[in-house]
Symmetry: C2
C-alpha cells in the first residue's frame, strides 16, 4: 500500500430513512420520522459524534413512486438551517438544482446558511434529471444533458459573483459616523449571459467561508469538466478500484490543466456499508435487505435506469445488447455507463444486477466486517482511488450509529481519520482554501447605488 | 367603548436591528448581530415569553442603501426554520415574493417550515416593489402593480393546490405490505394558467395546518380584493382610528361578499411603540431617535416615497401639490395615499412629515407611557379598528423586551391578551380554522403516477 499524509474525508449522506430503496420497510427504519425534525437532529448529532466532515442531503424535485418507496422530502437547506442550531462543527451540505431555481435566490440561500452555521455550508450543484421535474415547474420537458451543463456553468458564474459583491470587511457599523457599511466595498455585479443575467449586489454579506463549499455530483465528461472548473468536492459512484483510480487521475489531471492545485478538489465515492461483527452477520443483514425487494419490481426498475424495456428477456439471463444506452439517456449518463460495465464484467443476471442496483442506486455496497470495511476504505484511499467516502447507510438511523460506533474508531486508531475536529468551518475540515475575491478586478462593475428606505 | 369576546392578536415584526430607519445607530441596537443566529434566537424567545401569536419577518430582494442604513437580510424562511428549534409555540411567519419565485418552490418552502415547526408557519404574500429587485433577477423592470396582483392570484392558486396534493392521511407506512403511502390519496395538480402552470404533486406531504396561514400586506384596492379572496391575516398601515375602522369594515365586507366568514381574516395594523414609565421618558426616547436622523436625508427620502422631487421646496413649508401621486407610483399605492392624507390633515411641514415617516415607514408611531399604549390598543381593538397589532419596535432587541415586560402584562390584566398559549399551531393562536382539502373535487386531476427509483 502507498502512504498519504492527509486523512480520509467522510460525508454522512442522509436519504429518506435509508439508501436501500426498500430500507424503509426494515423494522429498524425511522420512516415515521421523515417529516419530523427530531429524526434529522439525531442523525446530525450522530454524524458529529463520528467527526464526519459533513452531512450531505439529496434533493428530488418530484414525488418518486409513493406506494412502494419512501417519498417526499423537506426542503433541504431549511432543514440544514434548523440542524445548524443543534450541531457545532458538522459541515452542512445540500443539493440544489440549477435548472429550477434563480441564481440570486440560490446565492442568498447558501450565503444565509453559511452565516447561520458560522461557515459550515456546502452546495451540491446538480442539474436535475427528469421530465417529471420539469412538469412541476410548468415546462414541457427537462432540458437535455449538455444544455443543462451549459446553463449550470452560467448559473454558478452568477452565484459566485454575487458572493463577491460584499468584501469581507464591508461592514463598518460606526454608530457615531452613521456608517453601516462601506459603500465602496459593496459592488454590483453586471452579468449578461445567454441564460442568466443579474445586475445588483447580493442582499446578504459575503459568506464566512468566502464561498460555501462547491460540491459536484456528475461524473460524465461534461460533469468532469464542470467539476474541474468549479468543484471542490466530487461525489461519484465507483464500483472498482481500477475505475476509481482512473476517474481520480482524470479529474485531478483536468484540474491541473485548468491551473488549479490537485488537492483543491476532494473525490468522495458513495459507499453503502452493510456490516457486522462477523462476515456471517453482515451477509445475514444483506440477505434481510434483499428480501425486502419485491422481485416483481426488479425488471421495471432496471429498465427505467437503462431507458430500455427488459420485460421480454429472461430474468436469470444476462443483459441483452442495448444500442447506445449512454447516448439514449437524458439522466445520469455516467451512471448508465457504470451499470453496463458492471453487468459485462461480472456477467450478472438481470435479477442479480437489478437487485444490487436497487440497493444503492449504482453506488458501491460493501458487505463485510467492520475491520474489512476499514481495510477496504484504507486501500482505496492509499491507492489514490479517492480522498474519502460519502457514507450511505442502507437503513437510517441505525446503520449510521453502527458505522460511527464500530468503523470510525478503527479508522481513528490507524491514523486515517480525525479523533477531534481541528477546525470550525467545512473548508477547514476538508483542507480547502478560503477563496479570496475572484471577481471585480476588471473594473467594469461599480459600487452599489444607495437606495432609499423601502416601505414594508 | 364597545366590548369584544375575542382577545387581541400580536405579531412581533422583526426588521433589521429595529424599525426606525436610523435605529441601528442607537447605542442599544444589536446591529452587530444581524447575521448571527443568536440575535434572532433572543428575539424569538422574547416574543414567545410575551405570548405573541407570531414573529413576522420582512424581506427585501435588493440591498437598500448600505452606507446609512442597516442592509442585508438572511433568507427569512431558513431563519424561521432555525428558530423553530429554539421555540415551542410561537408562530413563525415570513415574507416571500410571488414575483421572483416559482410556485412549486414556495409551496414546498412553507410546507417544510410547517412540518419542521409542527404547524406554526405563515406566509406573508407580497409582490415586491422596485425595479432594482427586477434587475437582480435579470429583468429590465418590475411588473406594474395590477399585473403583479393578477400574477399573484395565479401563484397562490397553484400553491394552495399543491398543498392539497397529499391528503392528510395519505401516509400509511405499512412495512409488511410494503405500502409507504396510499397512491390514491396523492394527487397530481394539472393547472395551466396565464402566468404559471404545474403538473404534479408536491414533494412534501400536506402541511400540519392544512395550509400555512396566509398573510397579506397590501392595502390598495387590488390588495384588498386579493386579501378578501385568500388572506387570513392582513398587515396594514393606519394612522387614525377612523381610517382604520373604514379599512376594517371594507375588508370584512368584501370577505362576506366573497362568501367567507367575517372572522376568517385578522386585521393587524403596524404599531411602533416608543414608550416609557412616564410621558417625559417616552418623549425623551422619541427625541433621541429623531436626533439620529441626518436632516440632509429627509427631503430625499420623502421624495423617493412620493416619487416626486421635493428638493426645490422649503423644508419648513407644507407639501406642494403633487399631481396624481398614487397613480404615479408602482410601489405601495396605499402607503402613498396614507402619506398624502396625513400631510393634508395635520398640515405638517416637509421636515416633520419626512421625520415621522422615516421612523416607521408610514406605520403608526405611538409615543407615551406603557399604560397609554395599552389604552390606545384597547380602544382601537374594541372600536373595531383592528383585531390586533403587528408590533414594530424602533430599536431591537431592547424595545421588544420593554413591550413584553411592561405592556403585555397590562393587556393580560385587562383580559385583552392571553396569559398562556392555549393552542399549539399558529391557526389555533389566531382562531383560524384549519382548511380542509379545497381542490380535487372536479375529478379532472388524477392520482400521481408511480415513478421509478432515481439515482443520486
Amino acid at each position: 500500500m502507498g502512504t498519504r499524509d492527509e486523512q480520509l474525508h467522510l460525508g454522512a449522506f442522509i436519504y429518506y430513512s435509508g439508501h436501500h430503496h426498500y430500507g424503509w420497510r426494515h423494522p429498524e427504519s425511522g420512516a415515521e420520522g421523515l417529516f419530523d425534525f427530531k429524526f434529522y437532529k439525531r442523525l446530525a448529532q450522530t454524524a458529529e459524534r463520528g467527526k464526519f466532515d459533513m452531512m450531505f442531503l439529496a434533493d428530488l424535485l418530484y414525488v418518486r413512486g409513493v406506494e412502494d418507496a419512501a417519498s417526499g422530502m423537506l426542503e433541504p437547506v431549511q432543514l440544514l438551517a434548523a440542524l445548524s442550531t443543534v450541531t457545532e462543527k458538522l459541515g452542512l451540505t445540500a443539493t440544489v438544482s440549477t435548472t429550477y431555481n434563480e441564481p440570486y435566490n440560490v446565492a442568498r440561500k447558501f450565503a444565509s446558511l453559511d452565516h447561520l452555521s458560522e461557515g459550515r455550508a456546502g452546495w451540491n450543484i446538480v442539474t436535475s434529471q427528469l421530465d417529471v421535474e420539469a412538469y412541476n415547474y410548468g415546462k414541457d420537458k427537462h432540458p437535455e444533458h449538455g444544455l443543462r451543463y451549459e446553463m449550470a456553468r452560467e448559473f454558478v458564474e452568477v452565484v459566485t459573483r454575487l458572493w463577491d459583491t460584499w468584501e469581507d470587511d464591508a461592514l463598518i457599523i460606526d454608530r457615531k459616523a452613521g456608517i453601516f457599511a462601506d459603500g465602496a466595498k459593496v459592488k454590483e455585479v453586471e452579468y449578461k449571459g445567454q441564460w442568466y443575467s443579474t445586475k445588483g449586489a447580493l442582499n446578504v454579506p459575503r459568506p464566512p467561508q468566502g464561498y460555501p463549499v462547491l460540491i459536484q455530483a456528475g461524473s460524465s465528461a461534461p460533469g468532469q469538466d464542470f467539476a474541474a472548473a468549479f468543484g471542490e468536492v466530487i461525489f461519484t459512484a465507483q464500483q472498482s478500484l481500477e475505475a476509481a483510480q482512473a476517474f481520480y487521475a482524470s479529474v485531478k489531471g483536468k484540474l491541473v490543466a485548468n491551473g488549479r492545485q490537485a488537492d483543491s478538489i476532494k473525490i468522495m465515492p458513495g459507499l453503502s456499508p452493510i456490516i457486522g461483527a462477523t462476515e456471517a452477520e453482515a451477509q445475514q443483514k444483506y440477505k434481510e435487505l434483499q428480501d425486502l425487494i419485491p422481485s416483481s419490481v426488479i425488471v421495471g426498475a432496471l429498465s427505467t435506469m437503462l431507458n430500455f424495456d427488459l420485460s421480454g428477456y429472461p430474468i436469470d439471463g444476462e443483459l441483452p445488447d442495448i444500442p447506445d444506452p449512454v447516448e439514449a439517456t437524458n439522466g445520469m449518463k455516467s451512471r448508465v455507463q457504470l451499470i453496463m460495465d458492471m453487468a459485462r464484467k461480472e456477467r450478472l443476471s438481470i435479477q442479480d444486477l437489478g437487485g444490487r442496483l436497487i440497493g444503492a442506486r449504482g453506488h458501491m455496497q460493501f458487505v463485510g466486517t467492520y475491520g474489512q470495511l476499514a481495510d477496504f476504505m484504507q486501500h482505496w484511499f492509499q491507492e489514490y482511488g479517492c480522498d474519502g467516502f460519502n457514507i450511505m447507510p442502507p437503513v437510517l438511523p441505525g446503520n449510521l450509529d453502527e458505522f460511527v460506533d464500530h468503523v470510525v474508531p478503527i479508522l481513528q486508531q490507524r491514523g486515517l481519520f480525525r479523533k477531534e475536529y481541528t477546525g470550525s468551518t467545512l473548508r477547514e475540515h476538508l483542507g480547502l482554501e478560503r477563496p479570496g475575491l475572484r471577481h471585480f478586478q476588471a473594473g467594469h462593475e461599480r459600487a452599489a447605488a444607495s437606495a432609499a428606505p423601502a416601505a414594508t
